[in-house]
């Protein structure tokens, strides 16, 4: 239900969101510029700021000196610091300042502070950078006096600094950052993937909510952050990470889809691989950030951050490797024997590493979170169980694999050329150079045989059962036959115990697809399919009816009932034309018939008449009038057209033959014309309607 509601929610479209974000940003900048002067002169806030610093031990506690003395001393110190040319470092200082507290605290600052009065500011660059902003709060007069002249840059920095400290402005800044991220994602999607397919969208949404859910659990359940700035930091970290994760997922989905096609242009593959390498580079950069944070902060934080990073790295790399192997597979005709096992080992390594890291990450979360009995730990436990099960399953599969490999190595002899005798491998239909021979004298590629035996221990050809592991074979539970790639098992893993997003989102999309009208491209192909059944009805009439009915079945029904009239309506079949068989279908008869018969094919070229006016000259292909073989073209589009043509011819032939036998047999049905003439149609439809209703 929540997803249904979520889906219906009138989410603002991207331009509107961008406009709102920019407006908000401008408003907050205006607010900052107009307010900060007042803020600077506000003595009370200055005081509280200094107190806050003291409470956080960033300022030394007041020792036995009077408040006035301390203040002057501090001011002196700040003035001293302010003489530093730290315009640029000022921003860093603020950002670092935001990193204070338990999450990332600055040991150097705390120790350096001890002799704050004595120590020369030159030697404590970090603390000067750190405290430079505070002077601006403490004593703006000193600050402005110390600086030579406030440049535009300094003003900008001042404004930015103010905005970071003001919650309202901070949120607009964050919002703007997200807006930019969304825009970036959108532009990458547009340039790399074009329109997303429905399954990709679902998968993406699923993954997105999964990610948000688990990170929410992590931030508030496991590390249990208290301060707003920590939340902001973690959120930005996970945003970057999640963004890359989603992109990887998208690449994977698209790759799987592309791998189904034999005719993907090289450029598409290249682009996808480029994107993958970019993701790889970025995740490496994230890893460097992890190491940096790990050096200054705690080891725990490092482990949490690095685990996610490494997972991303492995996934991206895995996808790339798969991609490379696939491209190699398609391009290469011959198989070399070692390749299969190498590919298998690579897959195994990737999958096991990923699972192990995930497992450790979750164990770490469970142990570190000092809230053993909470909802979060429960969810992590479930997740842990799932990962553990996957890992065990994977290892079981591997031991089965090793058994099969051993069997092939020991029991199957290398086939001699006489055994092969120019045969093809019956599994992959490729020629065999080297092969393994089973006891029953059947030969296969070693890799092909291995993949089959993993799933069923029998000879593919004669189905003779094989004893894979000698003594235990009979009692052994067979490995599950359906091994899906690891990442496919991943989808919707908490579906069982949480309101599932994927399922419901899917559902609403189906609902919508039924309610809305059919998209134009689909409509066109549907119309063409209908027209192949009814060549006498014009495409425009079919399209019109399809637009109303929305389904092919309904339109076919309508045509059969005679309620679809096309305006030109050339009589397609007269009964004598139908009576003569087969041969007349092959078009180049020269008489009036061929103009009409070409019609269904001409419509194929309709969507892009300018691009390819007539991609294939008509007489080039002999019409397959007899059920003999056709040509197998190398070009995908030509193949497709040929197939469509053969299909239509087959249907037409069958139709004629059927009508001929019906009229030969003296059956009354034989004289039924396809109700194409307008005059007969209404009467025919009257007569036909009851029959059609009965038929349903």
């Amino acid at each position: 239900m929540p997803a249904l509601w979520l889906d219906r929610l009138p989410l603002p479209n991207l331009p509107a969101y961008t406009a709102i974000s920019v407006t908000l940003l401008l408003c907050s900048v205006y607010f900052a510029v107009t307010t900060q002067d007042r803020f600077e002169s506000d003595a009370v806030s200055r005081l509280t700021f200094a107190e806050a610093l003291q409470r956080r031990c960033l300022l030394p506690p007041p020792v036995n000196e009077s408040a006035h003395d301390q203040r002057t001393r501090l001011t002196d110190y700040f003035v001293l610091l302010a003489t530093y040319p730290t315009q640029r470092a000022l921003l860093h200082g603020f950002l670092r300042h935001k990193l204070r507290s338990d999450f990332l605290y600055w040991p150097t600052v705390a120790t350096d502070w001890g002799e704050y009065g004595e120590r020369a500011p030159e030697s404590t660059a970090s603390s000067s950078v750190f405290f430079a902003p505070t002077i601006y709060y403490r004593d703006p007069g000193a600050w402005t006096a110390a600086l030579p002249e406030p440049s535009i840059q300094a003003n900008l920095v001042k404004t930015l600094a103010f905005m970071i400290h003001e919650p309202l402005c901070l949120w607009t800044l964050i919002n703007m950052a997200y807006c930019l991220l969304v825009l970036l994602g959108k532009s990458i999607q547009q340039s790399m993937f074009g329109e997303l397919r429905v399954s990709e969208q679902t998968q993406l949404k699923d993954k997105f909510w999964n990610f948000v859910f688990y990170k929410f659990i992590f931030v508030f359940g496991v590390i249990n952050v208290q301060h707003m700035d920590e939340v902001v930091l973690w959120c930005s970290w996970f945003s970057a990470l999640g963004f890359l994760h989603l992109l990887t997922q998208l690449c994977r989905d698209r790759f799987e889809y592309l791998s189904l096609s034999a005719s993907t242009p090289r450029r598409t593959h290249g682009r996808l691989l480029c994107l993958l390498s970019a993701i790889l580079a970025l995740s490496l950069a994230l890893l460097v950030i992890c190491v940096y944070v790990g050096l200054v902060a705690s080891l725990n934080t490092f482990a949490f951050m690095a685990a996610e990073c490494v997972l991303l790295l492995i996934r991206t790399f895995h996808t790339m490797i798969r991609y490379a192997i696939h491209l190699y597979d398609v391009a290469q005709t011959a198989q070399w024997e070692r390749k299969g096992s190498l590919v298998y080992l690579a897959e195994l390594m990737f999958e096991v590493t990923e699972l192990v890291i995930d497992l450790l990450h979750h164990v770490h979360m469970l142990l570190w979170g000092n809230i053993i009995l909470s909802m979060a730990s429960l969810i992590i436990c479930m997740e842990l169980r799932h990962i553990f099960y996957q890992l065990r399953h994977r290892l079981a599969r591997h031991s089965h694999y090793r058994r099969v490999v051993r069997y092939i190595e020991l029991e199957c002899v290398q086939a001699t050329p006489a055994d092969i005798d120019g045969d093809q491998c019956a599994i992959c239909w490729d020629a065999m150079e080297t092969a393994r021979r089973l006891d029953c004298k059947h030969c296969f590629h070693a890799t092909c045989l291995r993949r089959w035996l993993e799933q069923d221990p029998s000879c593919p050809t004669c189905r003779k059962g094989l004893d894979l592991s000698g003594q235990t074979a009979s009692g052994q539970p067979r490995a599950q036959p359906h091994h899906r790639p690891h990442w496919q098992q991943h989808r919707g893993r908490f579906v069982s115990f949480l309101p599932s997003f994927s399922v419901e989102v899917n559902h609403t999309q189906l609902l919508r697809a039924n309610q809305q009208e059919v998209p134009a491209s689909q409509l066109d192909s549907m119309a063409r399919q209908v027209q192949q059944l009814f060549p006498h009805v014009s495409l425009s009439a079919i399209t019109e009816d399809l637009q109303q009915s929305g389904s092919m079945e309904a339109t076919v029904e309508n045509i059969l009932e005679g309620s679809v009239h096309d305006h030109p309506a050339p009589p397609m079949f007269t009964s004598d034309e139908l009576a003569d068989d087969g041969g007349s279908w092959s078009r180049p008869d020269g008489d009036g018939g061929d103009g009409r018969e070409e019609k269904p094919y001409r419509h194929h070229d309709r969507p892009e008449p300018a691009l390819e006016p007539e991609p294939v000259p008509e007489p080039q292909w002999p019409e397959p009038a007899a059920p003999g073989g056709s040509r197998f073209s190398k070009s995908a589009s030509e193949r497709h057209t040929l197939l469509q043509r053969r299909k239509a011819a087959m249907l037409e032939r069958a139709r004629r033959r059927y009508l001929a036998t019906q009229s030969d047999g003296g059956d009354s049905g034989g004289t039924v014309s396809t109700s194409s003439d307008d005059s007969g149609a209404p009467a025919a439809s009257e007569a036909l309607r009851p029959a059609a209703l009965v038929g349903r």
Partner: protein, 168 residues
Amino acid sequence: MAGNALKRLMAEYKQLTLNPPEGILAGPINEENFFEWEALITGPEGTCFDGGVFTAKLTFPPDYPLNPPKMQFCCEMFHPNIYADGRVCISILHAPGDDPMGYETSAERWSPVQSVEKILLSVVSMLAEPNDESGANVDAAKMWRQDREQFQKIAQRLVRKSLGLPPP
């Protein structure tokens, strides 16, 4: 891996195009996706389905020759071995591991040696001689056993429908 499956499917498509068996036609619906095929099957002569041209959709798994495709008729069918939604229930389409009916020997089930052509030929013979023991469509099986004439009448209506002709 999809690469191996793709090559094998391409080889089968080529074979089916160059030497098509009588009354059978098959190929990818769309060249973008080689794993979904459309097949046209002519009803065998001298049977109830004589003359009809029935359209079916074949969906191949990514590890294709290791696992069987799924087959579903797109047109209305009434046959003991075809479910109401068009799915075909014949032993050659059952994966080697599972045995939903519990009586098939593994020899009848899928093996990578089978091919699209063999599947379609099995379907043709299934159309000619329904196996009324495995009741995918119980009504059809019952009618096939008890009221052959009525079955024939329905089949003829389906034949006409499959050809795009109005019912007589």
